[in-house]
């Protein structure tokens, strides 16, 4: 078992997502530190991909900015090594299957373990295909995090029963991005999930305001925010870490 469980030891968890290398890796490192100091419980680090099919425009653009800036998987690993000198929080990578596959599953996942990463989220790796990387993840103690979607229905039993680290509950249909309201019957989904597992379940996709975060935290174990944070990097560039810290503090208060 990885350190991910610890993220849920301090009340409801707040999990910020950021795209590595947007606008540069120094900023990513500072932003992660700022998020930790502001009370984040777990950090989701995005390794950019050229064609992120599960992302809305905000994170797509962050990926493009980061890749244009010359970020690579190896440079991100080096940045995490630097980060780990200060950062104690559990951390997971979020990227796409091809980034792991092309690097070599064994090489990528063993590097994750060596760097002190705790888990891996791959939105284009559904339950049926997790055999692609699961044995290697288990070998190195990296949690391969599964997702549950509003359309999962009868699949929830299998996915929840085999959950590793935490379960990522997708709040809505569609791609990542800020939403005005979330209409899915999440209480119903969470109730089903809890029939099959004690693994913590955090809700992501579309959450941006403290009010939304509070409501989502009431029915789950934590809240994941991506696009609203990535927007701060677009607006403030290298000054973003300060704003990320402020935002995380506000959101952590809301979910507690």
């Amino acid at each position: 078992m990885s350190n991910i469980k610890k993220a849920f030891d301090h009340g409801k968890a707040f999990i910020p997502f950021m795209t590595c290398g947007d606008p540069d890796l120094e900023t990513t490192i500072e932003a992660v530190k700022a998020a930790e100091n502001a009370g984040a419980d777990l950090i989701e680090l995005g390794i950019p991909f050229s064609d992120p099919t599960a992302e809305g425009p905000v994170i797509q653009e962050a990926n493009e900015r980061a890749l244009r800036g010359g970020v690579t998987t190896d440079k991100i690993f080096e940045a995490v090594r630097t980060m780990r000198k200060d950062v104690r929080l559990p951390m997971v990578f979020m990227t796409y299957a091809n980034v792991v596959f092309s690097y070599g599953a064994e090489k990528f996942i063993s590097s994750c373990a060596e760097l002190g990463m705790d888990g891996l989220i791959l939105p284009d790796l559904p339950y049926e295909e997790r055999g692609e990387f699961l044995p290697v993840c288990e070998k190195y103690g990296i949690d391969l995090v599964s997702m549950v979607a509003p359309t999962s229905e009868d699949r929830i039993k299998r996915i929840a029963s085999d959950a590793k680290g935490f379960l990522y509950i997708v709040s809505s249909l569609g791609v990542t991005g800020v939403r005005k309201e979330i209409k899915t019957d999440l209480s119903g989904i969470l109730a089903m999930v809890r029939q099959y597992t004690d693994t913590p379940a955090a809700i992501g996709f579309g959450i941006s305001t403290p009010e939304q975060a509070k409501r989502m935290a009431e029915i789950s174990d934590g809240v994941i925010v991506g696009s609203a944070i990535v927007k701060l990097f677009k607006e403030h560039g290298r000054e973003a870490p300060v704003y990320v810290g402020e935002y995380v503090e506000k959101m952590k208060k809301a979910v507690l």
């Binding site: 991909f49 064609d51 690579t72 980034v99 596959f101 559904p126 509003p150 249909l173 569609g174």
Partner: protein, 450 residues
């Protein structure tokens, strides 16, 4: 061939977001049910016959054969199908299936626009809504097809993310599908994407090879030496190959778009320059960098300008059953011009890649050998781009020519008033094809706006 469900060797699979999983499972179940349903099969065959104009002709290209002085060349005339390409075979099948599944709306990606036009056509025929995602660069390269889709009642959404070409259109369609699954079927246009698409599309396109076999048997009483087709995602190629896979003596040759050559980066020849990866729902070969970032591929042909290839082709290549050869832009353009002059048939620039390889090979073979080339589509849509490639002044510069002046006078708003880049660019480059198309692009919501 399916060793494991949805796999061709190690290739294929279902690498898609969880949100889509039940949709592809539902699709697979429906397909399995209806393909065994004789009423469905009869209805589809009726559409093939009475609406699409099947069987398509197998034409002996006598002048071409005599001119090249080697193997006998037959052309499988998919260009004569309704809507002018092989795409209609798959689309009629999927649209009918979607209708049986109770879907009200079709979405599709398109490169050259042929699949988009075919989808818009089937949607019109079967009373379904239709939205087509098309790379912005392609809406400019293929303005006439944008107009046709609009005319057929479809909404065309120019995709500006990434390279603004086919791969980005696929990504945009997949994103749209995750946001609206209940009433929407994603009518994927090639033998790619997650299972069951590579199998479904292959099965609907397999009619091409079946017809070739029986038509050639009737005309020549034998099997061909080789069947040759162009490959982007690979639907007309797999349709051509599939019935011959068991006939070991028949060579299966797929012609990839080499663009400016396979030694550089401006190419779309996936098998020749790519490596194994996972993208757009499947494991297959992809053009990509050392970190797995998908490469911005290039070809003169919008329909072949895709960084991946269908998983069954990846498998056929690995086991040595099919061979995939690169054909450059210039070779394809020469074949495009050659067939027009020699046989009076203007082929799609995609299909011209396959023709080019046949032109190279035929003279090296004995006269008793037979080559069948699938002409996957007609070339009307490509005339402006090829003229531009050849630098023909009257099509290139809007200002000086009669055509451009007439267009400008008749529809000045398309040339001068539109605010959109697409309309302006198209207006300058392709005045004779402009009627309506530029403004469609301008008026349609850009993908980021949604």
């Amino acid at each position: 061939m399916d060793i494991k469900k949805g796999r061709f060797g190690e290739y294929g699979g279902q690498y898609i977001p969880e949100t889509l999983m039940n949709a592809v499972i539902e699709l697979e179940e429906a397909y399995e049910r209806y393909k065994a349903d004789s009423a469905f099969v009869e209805e589809l065959n009726g559409l093939f016959r009475d609406y699409a104009g099947r069987p398509s002709l197998l034409y002996y290209a006598k002048k071409m054969t005599e001119d090249l002085g080697g193997a006998k060349i037959y052309l499988k005339r998919e260009d004569l199908n309704h809507t002018g390409a092989h795409k209609i075979n798959n689309v009629l099948g999927q649209a009918l299936l979607a209708k049986k599944m109770g879907k009200k709306r079709l979405i599709a990606e398109t490169g050259a626009g042929q699949h988009g036009v075919a989808t818009a056509t089937a949607a019109a025929l079967l009373g379904l809504e239709c939205v087509v995602f098309m790379g912005k660069e392609d809406t400019e390269r293929q303005a006439l097809n944008v107009y046709k889709m609009k005319l057929l009642g479809a909404e065309v959404i120019p995709v500006t993310t990434g390279t603004g070409t086919l791969k980005d259109a696929v990504s945009a369609a997949m994103r749209e599908w995750t946001s609206r699954i209940e009433d929407t079927h994603y009518c994927l246009g090639s033998v790619m994407g997650p299972h069951p698409f590579p199998t479904i599309v292959r099965d609907f396109q397999a009619v091409i090879g079946k017809e070739i076999k029986s038509q050639l048997m009737e005309k020549e009483g034998c099997l061909p030496y080789a069947v040759i087709a162009c490959v982007g995602g690979g639907s007309n190629a797999i349709g051509t190959f599939y019935d011959f896979i068991g006939d070991e003596e028949v060579k299966l040759i797929g012609c990839e778009a080499a663009g400016k050559g396979i030694d550089g980066f401006e190419t779309a020849a996936t098998i020749n320059t790519g490596k194994v990866g996972i993208f757009h729902g499947m494991k297959s070969y992809f053009c990509q960098d050392e970190y797995g970032q998908i490469a911005p591929v290039y070809s003169i042909s919008a329909g072949l300008d895709y960084p991946g290839i269908g998983p069954e082709h990846a498998y056929l290549s690995d086991i040595g059953r099919a061979e995939y050869v690169p054909v450059t832009d210039i070779e394809a353009v020469e074949a495009f011009e050659y067939l027009s002059r020699t046989e009076g048939i203007i082929p799609a620039i995609e299909s011209a890649h396959a023709l080019s390889y046949a032109m190279k090979t035929a003279p090296t073979l004995d006269k008793d050998k037979i080559l069948v080339v699938t002409l996957s589509g007609r070339g009307d849509k490509d005339c402006a781009a090829i003229a531009r490639f050849r630098g023909e002044p009257q099509l290139l510069h809007g200002g000086g020519s009669d055509v451009a002046n007439t267009t400008a006078i008749e529809e000045p708003q398309l040339l001068y008033e539109s605010g959109s880049d697409a309309a302006n660019t198209t207006a300058i480059e392709e005045p004779q094809l402009l009627h309506g198309s530029g403004s469609d692009v301008a008026n349609t919501t850009a993908i980021e706006g949604r």
